[in-house]
Structure formats: structure tokens, C-alpha cells
Amino acid sequence: MSDQDTISPSLAAQVLAEFEKDWRKELRRSMPVKERMKGGRRPMPQRAPGERNKDFAEVNLGLGAEEAVAEARRCLDCAKPGCIAGCPVRIDIPSFVKLVEKGEFAAAAAKVREANSLPAVCGRVCPQESQCEEKCALRKATGVAVGIGNLERFVSDYERREGGAVVSDLPPSTGRKVAVVGAGPSGMTVAGELARAGHRVTIFEALHDAGGVLVYGIPEFRLPKSILVAEISYLRRLGVEFRMNFIVGKTATIDDLRADGYEVFFIGSGAGLPNFMKVPGENLVGVYSANEYLTRVNLMRAYDFPRYDTPVFPGRRAAVIGGGNVAIDSVRTAKRLGAERALIIYRRSRVEMPARVEEVHHAEEEGIEFHFLTVPTRYIGDEHGRVKAMECLRMELGEPDASGRRRPVPVPGSEFTAEVDLVVVAIGQSPNPLIPQTTPGLKVGKWGTIDVDWETMATSLPGVYAGGDIARGGATVILAMGDARTAAAAMDRRLKQGSAG
């Protein structure tokens, strides 16, 4: 795993060179630091809670140009910026923010794209508050960081409205064939990087739409599909080929692809195996894994049933088990599908919730009820095998566990029963075993993750790399993309060494 606190000497030198450019100096001089620190963050315009919780249109509307420039002015343009080290893909954040301040939005977008091939996605779904914005000097000084995520979203939306990212200066094709398994965040990043290096990249995707978790998992109201379509079209313009409905491990194995002339491989097959709690009644009708619930609604568009053929239970009283982003996405989806009451059931307390702060806040505004320190112990069905209630137990926080969070322990005698007709289990996923099972010699760790050398993301098999949730076991979009950047660099080196020798 790349070190979260430092950036490489070469990147530091590039960042410094940008910092010392005359226009940056001028911009710094144009407004005193004290002035920049005045006033708070420009708020993200958003739709009213009572309106947006009834449909699937996007919640956040994005900053306008004037607001974006004003927000960019808040950035102090530090000599030693912390934000870059807080970013898993190492975007030169001050440079792009200062380009926004100067009004050069297209150049700002291009600057972001140097390090991040999915900026419109990351501007919307990254947990900035625990990454770049956490390290922001302004946050340390005033308590409120520069809205880096909002600015990233602004420049990438600007770029898309202006006709999309420009494909320029592609090197001559090397003709070397690269196979990427999975069209999720890590796979798309590797594909983009290696296509730009001149290699022939094919992405093999098991589902019928590209995007991985971005298309089946994250709902339209947080990440509109049109944004993903634009990013995929950019990859196609770079020359990336997509093979959809192709299940590597089943339709063809890694060895089959090698025989077809593919030289290097990236496995980004994700954490596609839902975990259940193994409590009685979990297989009752109306109890879903979050993966199934969200896939039905997002990928299969069950929210538009019967115009689309895939149904989903609307649920009158919906309970979602878990406290991560997937749980919050599920419960807000249930509300939008018409649930009168939509509850989060989480075994720890609010501060331990891994979900993005903004999503929790949005969920509360939309009328989601949070029940902390509670776990389901049993689901109760009616005569048709359909869930009608759940039995729960209250918890209290004990000593910290391995994750550093205080471990929830049951309160004896605190059982109670709640009426529910829809349950979504969102307690995490395990790595998808399809590829490890069908790839002899591929070393796998205790939890089913593929073992990698974190410096290069190389697996135990020569020429085969892996990253994202299949190596991490369940993390974020941006960490997957960071892995992908590391892997792409190593894969490019390998191909170039190979051709030299």
C-alpha cells in the first residue's frame, strides 16, 4: 500500500516547479492570506430533501463558475501542501485549484486528469473529508477545508459540458496486448493509463454495462449514469476495447487469454460476494443482500418497473443493516421507492460509521431513521415465507477491537421486535472467488484476497497484477484507482523491458 503521508521526490519536484511559476506567484500576491481565510466554504447547491427523496435524480447540483472561483480563492496555495499526500492518486491539487481561481477551467480539468482518469466520479463519491481535505492547511487553521471535492466535480463537469476530455498526443501503438479483468474503477484506470502509453487494451466485463460498482452499486441520485457513460466514451476514444458479458474464469481463463496473445493482465474483479450474518430467517422472501437490492435498482433499473422488466420489493417499512456507504445508498433507495419508514440498523454508534459524512447528513435530511447500537438476531416470516418482522438486540460499546473502534457487546435482556417488510443486509462483501478458483498458481490470502506486492501490485504469477477490492477485500473507489495507477506503471515497465529484451 502506498504511504499515505509522503509523496515521491519526483512528484514533489514537479509540484514545486508548478508552485514557482510566475502566474502562481502573481495569483498568491493578488489576495492576502487573511482575506482568503475570511468567510466559509461555498455551500454545495442541492435539491430540497422533501423533493429529492421521491425520485432518483441527482441530489447535489454542483457549484456555479463564480462560486467555484470564490471557493478556489480560499486555497492558500501552501508551499508544502498536505492535500496531495492525502489523495490516493496524487492529484496536484493546488495547481488545479489555482487554475480554477484563474478561470482556466479546461486547463484545471486537464491537470486533474493527469492523475485521475475518473474525476467526475471521484468528485462525487470520494471521502474527501478523510483524505485531501483532512490534510488541508485551511482546515487546520479555520476548521473548514477548501472544498476540493466540489472543485474536482466542478472542473470535470465543465469539461464534459464542453464536449469531453480531449484525446491528444497518443504515442504510436506498441501492439502489445493487455487484458484487464473487470470494468470497475481500478480496471478502467489501468486501461486508461496503458492505452495512453500506446498499448492495446481490452477490458473483459462480466456484466452488460461497464462501471463495476459505479454502475451496479452507487445509485443514480449520487452518481448519474450519464457521467459514467462519458468516462467510458473517453476510454473508447483512447482505443480501449470493451468485451462485455465475458466472465474471465468461465468464458475464458487467464491461461486461455495468454494463449490468445495477451501479455500482461490486471485483475480488478472486485468484492463481489455478499456477506450475510447467518442469523435465522435470512433467506426469507424480502431479505436482500445490498448487492442484489442495488443491482436490481441501478443496473437493471427496477425503479422504472414495469417499463424495465426487473422487479424489486418497494417495502413499506425498510430496514437496512450496516453503517457504510452501501448501507446509506440502500436505505436512501428504499425511501425513494416509497418506504414510509426507512431505517438504518447499525451495531456501533454514529462516530464509528464508515459512511461518508455528507451521505449520512443527506440521509438524515431525507427522513432516514438511524438506530445505533442495534443488531438483528432473527427474521420472522409470514405464512408465505415473506419477512414480516425482525428481532433485535441492543448493544453497548466495550473495549477497542483490532480496527481501533470500540467493540459492540450485547446488552442482556434487551431483545425487541420491529415490524419490517423489507430488509437489506449491507454488512460488507468478500472478494469474488471466480478468478482465484480458475487460475492455477495464483496466491490468495486468508480472506480470499489475491496476494500482491504493494509496490507494484504484482501477483504470484508473472505478468499478472491485481488491485482494488480483489486485493484489499473491500475499500473505496479511490483506493482502487490508486492501486491501478501503481499497477499500470509496473505493467508498462514490464512491457517495455520485454520489448527491449
Partner: protein, 276 residues
């Protein structure tokens, strides 16, 4: 997109679909399935692979037209394309040289039993094929199956094939008559559960090829979970074949019917749109 080579009605409501899918044709084994989606608005459904031609690169499935998806599939013509025809999925059936194997199929399972019977025969077993039809005119692939079977038995409810009894009776008769070492059953949940019940007293290993509701078919969603021997299994990656004596049939029936009302609504909406 995968191209339809052939789509024909075998008997009323039961259709054959042959699709160009060279990679799947090269890899598939008896007992595996494909995930099919008929059009861009469609639902993803699993269909058991009934036959394949590795040289021509085609895969054949047989299905019954019941809901929106299968009715859409039943309207396909040669030369049409389907957006999704993905596979081969699921674990292949365990085929071995065990002695005498009774292969039982009903409905679409008459076709689905075909590659299993062929593989068991090739592995040196005596193969008895039992097919279940509601009436004589619903029998298809008789020639294909008779060419494989050491003995071919038809269970029909209209009496033309010499009996009005249901398939469990035939299973019990065969078990009483000769030593059977393995039973495999493919068809509707009712057929499979009733065969499993019929063979339970004898304890003969009875494999059933389950067909729960699926979405992705690759282990990602868990829609297809079934309880087998008290453990939750995903039919798409742990199955679809399981020991019929260990399956929680009541749960499977309930889960199969999860969307019954929605399925009717979907079909009505589609019919109104297509046949106003």
C-alpha cells in the same frame, strides 16, 4: 451482440434457442447454464444449456414461455441478436462411472437432461431416461434421447404412453425393479422435489439441478440462495446441482414465487405495449 441461429417452437409453449457463442460453445460442460437478457429493457434469467456445437460455435437452450422474458425470447428469429448471452456459468455436473443412472426430466428439463444423459452414457453407465409430460403432444426430442438411452420411459398424464400416473410412481417402479446408483432430475421445482421425495427412502444419491431466481449469475448478488443441509448456498456458483435429499424445498418454493404479482404486472404491461 450474440446472433440467434435458430429459434423454433418444439411443442406448445416450449421453444428452442440456438445462439452463436463460440467461447461458450468451446468451454461449456453438462449441467452449466447461461444468463440471457432478451432486450435492453429485459431481465437477466438463467437458462440451462441443452446442447452445443463446438465446431460451429453455437449453444442451444430450451425454455418454456411463461413470463415476459421468455415470451420475448420466444419471438426471436434467426438473425436477431440478444444483448446478453453469458456463460458458461455454474459448476458442471459430476459425471462418473457409477453403474446405472436414471436421468429424469420434465418440461424444459427434457432437453436439459440430454447433455447429462449423453455424458453418463459416454462414461460407461447404463442410462435410463424418464421424461415427464402432461400430455403426449408435449413430448419432444424423443429421437435424440432414445438414441442415448438404454431404456426410455415416458410418464404422461393422458394415458397414451400407458399410464396416468405421475413421475414419482415411475421412479419408484424403476427403483423396485432394478438397482439404480444415481438419479439426476431437471425440470420445474415440483418435478425435482417430488422425485427427491420418491427416492429418499431408498437413499439413492439424487442430484437436482436447481433453478432459483438469479440476477448476475456470478455469485455477486445472492438472489439464488438456497438452504442445503442447513447451510446457505448460492445456486449460481456453488451449484446449480445439489443433493435433492438435503435441499430445503419449502424455502425454494417461496423464493421462486417472490415476484409472482410483479411478473403478472410486467407481462400485462408488455402485452399492452406490444399488442394494443
Amino acid at each position: 451482440m450474440p446472433r440467434v441461429v435458430r429459434r423454433e417452437r418444439l411443442v406448445p409453449n416450449i421453444h428452442l434457442l440456438e445462439v452463436e457463442a463460440p467461447e461458450i460453445a468451446r468451454k461449456c460442460l453438462p449441467g452449466q447454464f447461461v444468463i440471457v437478457m432478451p432486450d435492453a429493457h429485459g431481465e437477466r434469467i438463467p437458462l440451462t444449456i441443452a446442447d452445443w456445437d463446438r465446431e460451429r460455435g453455437t449453444v442451444t437452450s430450451v425454455f418454456m414461455a411463461v413470463g415476459t422474458t421468455t415470451r420475448k425470447l420466444a419471438l426471436l428469429k434467426a438473425g436477431d441478436t440478444v444483448p446478453i448471452f453469458a456463460g458458461p456459468l455454474g459448476r458442471p455436473s459430476e459425471i462418473g462411472s457409477v453403474g446405472t443412472v436414471l436421468c429424469a426430466g420434465g418440461c424444459f428439463g427434457i432437453a436439459a437432461i440430454h447433455p447429462l444423459a449423453r455424458a453418463f452414457k459416454a462414461a460407461g453407465n447404463r442410462v435410463v431416461i424418464l421424461v415427464d409430460v402432461k400430455a403426449d403432444y408435449l413430448l419432444y426430442w424423443r429421437d435424440k434421447l432414445e438414441a442415448i438411452a438404454d431404456e426410455f420411459v415416458v410418464s404422461s398424464r393422458d394415458g397414451l404412453y400407458g399410464g396416468t400416473d405421475f413421475v414419482p410412481r415411475h421412479v419408484r417402479d424403476i427403483l423396485a425393479r432394478e438397482k439404480v446408483d444415481r438419479i439426476v432430475a431437471v425440470g420445474c421445482t415440483y418435478l425435482m422435489s417430488s422425485i427427491a421425495e420418491a427416492t429418499r427412502p431408498s437413499g439413492v444419491r439424487t442430484m437436482v439441478c436447481l433453478n432459483p431466481i438469479m440476477v448476475d449469475g456470478t455469485g455477486m448478488c445472492g438472489a439464488c440462495r438456497v438452504t442445503v443441509d442447513g447451510q446457505t448456498k448460492f445456486a449460481c456458483v456453488d451449484g446449480p446441482d445439489f443433493d435433492g435429499h438435503l435441499v430445503d424445498w419449502a424455502e425454494l418454493y417461496a423464493r421462486r414465487k417472490s415476484y409472482f404479482d410483479d411478473e403478472v404486472r410486467s407481462l400485462c404491461a408488455w402485452e399492452e405495449e406490444r399488442f394494443p
